[in-house]
């Protein structure tokens, strides 16, 4: 479904991402973990076309999308949420989702219909599925942090992606918010049969839902496999996890 071959990115002399290989199969939930600055966000930006790789290739469904502009990649069924919340703050929640829906349906160049009469049912349904229906008329920028993250997920879902890249979906959330968000993501991934690739620093979350985990360190993937294998990997324990005992903390 999503394949990455030998992907590298240098900023000046600094190699942020170095020769990364990665493959995510259809319907799989995969996580990329690693300490801050390991290159996770850069890797995501390379996959979604926000950054141009120095070397390597990105394949979506077998199609080479290396260096293709973000708006085109979006059209190929690859959605993304960002580490820093990334919504349209002065629009209402409904408009946020509607804009994404309309863009996905190719309605963007339509300059004569009334936007607020289009995609109404779909937008409401989508908001309901991410649990934001009560806040539909609120200005997006005034939502709580957790709700904004939910909305961001909603915007990403509006383009009906097959693959969803989530960059730290629970960053900055309280424990209960994290719990709800993860439940939401899992449910949506199941309902929509999504392929999911996400980064996360909360190990409990990662090991509870991921089918496969890649560990990055200093721009490289140092381990790759199912949660048990990664947990057992000696190098991972040394450079990243320390020798602390690991496992779901709950």
């Amino acid at each position: 479904m999503l394949e990455v071959h030998g992907l590298s990115k240098s900023f000046g002399g600094f190699r942020a991402v170095s020769d990364v290989d990665l493959a995510v199969a259809e319907g799989e939930i995969a996580a990329v973990i690693g300490p801050n600055g390991a290159g996770k966000s850069t890797l995501f930006s390379l996959i979604t076309g926000h950054l141009q790789p120095t070397a390597g290739r990105v394949l979506v469904n077998g199609r080479d999308v290396t260096g293709v502009a973000p708006y085109k990649i979006c059209g190929m069924g690859l959605g993304r949420s960002f580490q820093h919340t990334n919504i349209f703050p002065k629009l209402t929640v409904l408009e946020n989702v509607r804009a994404a829906l309309l863009a996905h349906r190719g309605q963007g160049p339509n300059f004569w219909s009334r936007a607020n009469q289009l995609c109404h049912g779909e937008a409401e349904a989508l908001l309901a599925s991410i649990g934001l229906a009560p806040q539909a008329r609120a200005t997006a920028g005034t939502l709580s942090y957790g709700n904004q993250k939910q909305l961001e997920l909603g915007i990403a879902l509006a383009s009906d992606p097959k693959i969803l890249l989530l960059d730290e979906p629970t960053a900055g959330m309280s424990a209960s918010e994290t719990h709800e968000t993860i439940a939401l993501i899992e449910r949506i991934a199941r309902e929509r049969r999504l392929t999911l690739l996400f980064t996360e620093h909360d190990m409990a979350v990662v090991f509870s839902i991921a089918h496969r985990i890649a560990v990055m360190h200093q721009g490289r993937v140092i381990a790759h496999g199912d949660p048990a294998a990664v947990r057992a990997d000696a190098q991972v324990r040394r450079v990243y996890l320390g020798d602390a005992p690991m496992g779901p903390r709950s």
Binding site: A69, K72, C74, L91, A99, S113
Partner: protein
């Protein structure tokens, strides 16, 4: 339920139509001078509105918008004066000419963002100015094209009431029709999916790209549409002003229309109209007392930037909300 219906009702009212009808009475209830001012306000309002399509809707700071106003006025003026082309052809030609100009320059401008975008638009507008100032054979050079004829408005003479008006007042009626149709079209565009896409670009260009928008292409489309409407305003102004001159395209005019727009408020549809009316009236009032209008304008601008950054409409909206909250609290107490 009741609470919801009142604003909904207000939203239902076709405000463009209401404003149109109100403005239409001016030649009969006001003086010749009132009509003169109203014509100037109507044209400036359209110009400011077209700029706000970039400034307020798309978030593009164009400091060279006057270029497209100028192209429109020159195209229309040259066609009508030099080639005696009727207004009904010259006006669309002006709009198309300006839109084409905006397409060519916009292609380069949207490659840059923020202040760089502003500087590039300014640079291109100065190039247009240099062409207008130098190309004597076509544009009349520094002397411009004086005496642009009024359109043929004989058809109005058969309409009761309209027939008795002076030509300048009849032209006002025509201007008002063109301006209001344009405003209605702009309103429709802003409310359309396309308009919504432009708003997402203003809010967050990076995110807009991630929902599948080719941001540059949308920006360019907005630039072209805004240019076209500016061209219509320019064409009308050339006739209203009885001549087309290179000063139309000089950069302080870009600042002027920008001041109009933010004076009214860029976050509200009617902001530019309010701003245009305020600035035109203020200008004529103050210039009859003192030659230090620039000083006054500069001071107004400072006040605007530091005290009322939302402009007049923004300030009023905030004030009303505050009042409503206050009375609401009292009612609930």
């Amino acid at each position: 339920m009741m609470k919801k219906s009142a604003p909904a009702l207000v939203r239902r009212i076709p405000w463009v139509l209401v404003v149109f009808v109100a403005a239409l009475t001016i030649p009969w209830v006001g003086s010749r001078y009132d009509t003169f001012l109203a014509t100037q306000i109507a044209i400036s309002a359209l110009f400011a509105m077209s700029l706000n399509l970039l400034l307020g809707t798309t978030g593009l700071v164009s400091f060279g918008h006057v270029a497209y106003f100028g192209i429109g006025s020159y195209v229309c003026g040259i066609l009508m004066k030099t080639y005696a082309v009727p207004f009904s052809i010259a006006l669309p030609a002006a709009a198309i000419g300006s839109a084409l100009g905006a397409l060519v320059f916009g292609f380069f401008c949207v490659r840059l963002t923020k202040i760089y975008f502003a500087m590039l638009t300014l640079a291109f507008s100065q190039i247009i100015w240099a062409i207008c100032y130098k190309w004597n054979d076509v544009t009349g050079g520094d002397q411009g094209i004086p005496d642009v004829p009024y359109p043929n408005l004989d058809w109005m003479s058969s309409i009761p009431l309209l027939g008795d008006l002076r030509i300048a007042q009849q032209f006002y009626v025509l201007t008002l029709i063109v301006v209001m149709l344009s405003l209605a079209a702009i309103q429709r565009i802003i409310a359309s999916p396309f308009g919504l896409m432009l708003t997402t670009i203003r809010e967050n260009p990076e995110r807009a790209a991630s929902i599948g928008l080719n941001v540059r292409r949308y920006e360019l489309s907005a630039f072209v549409i805004a240019g076209g409407f500016a061209g219509i305003a320019g064409a009308l102004f050339g006739i209203f002003n009885r001549g087309v001159f290179s000063d139309f395209v000089y950069w302080p005019k870009s600042a002027e229309v920008m001041i109009m727009t933010i004076l009214g408020g860029i976050d509200h549809f009617w902001g530019p109209v309010v701003g245009a009316a305020t600035l035109v009236l203020l200008n004529q009032e103050i210039t009859s007392y003192t030659q230090y209008w620039p000083f006054v304008l500069g001071t107004i601008l400072l006040l605007l930037l530091f005290v009322f950054p939302g402009g007049i409409v923004g300030g009023l909206t905030t004030g009303l909300e505050w009042l409503r909250r206050k009375t609401g609290r009292r009612a609930s107490a």
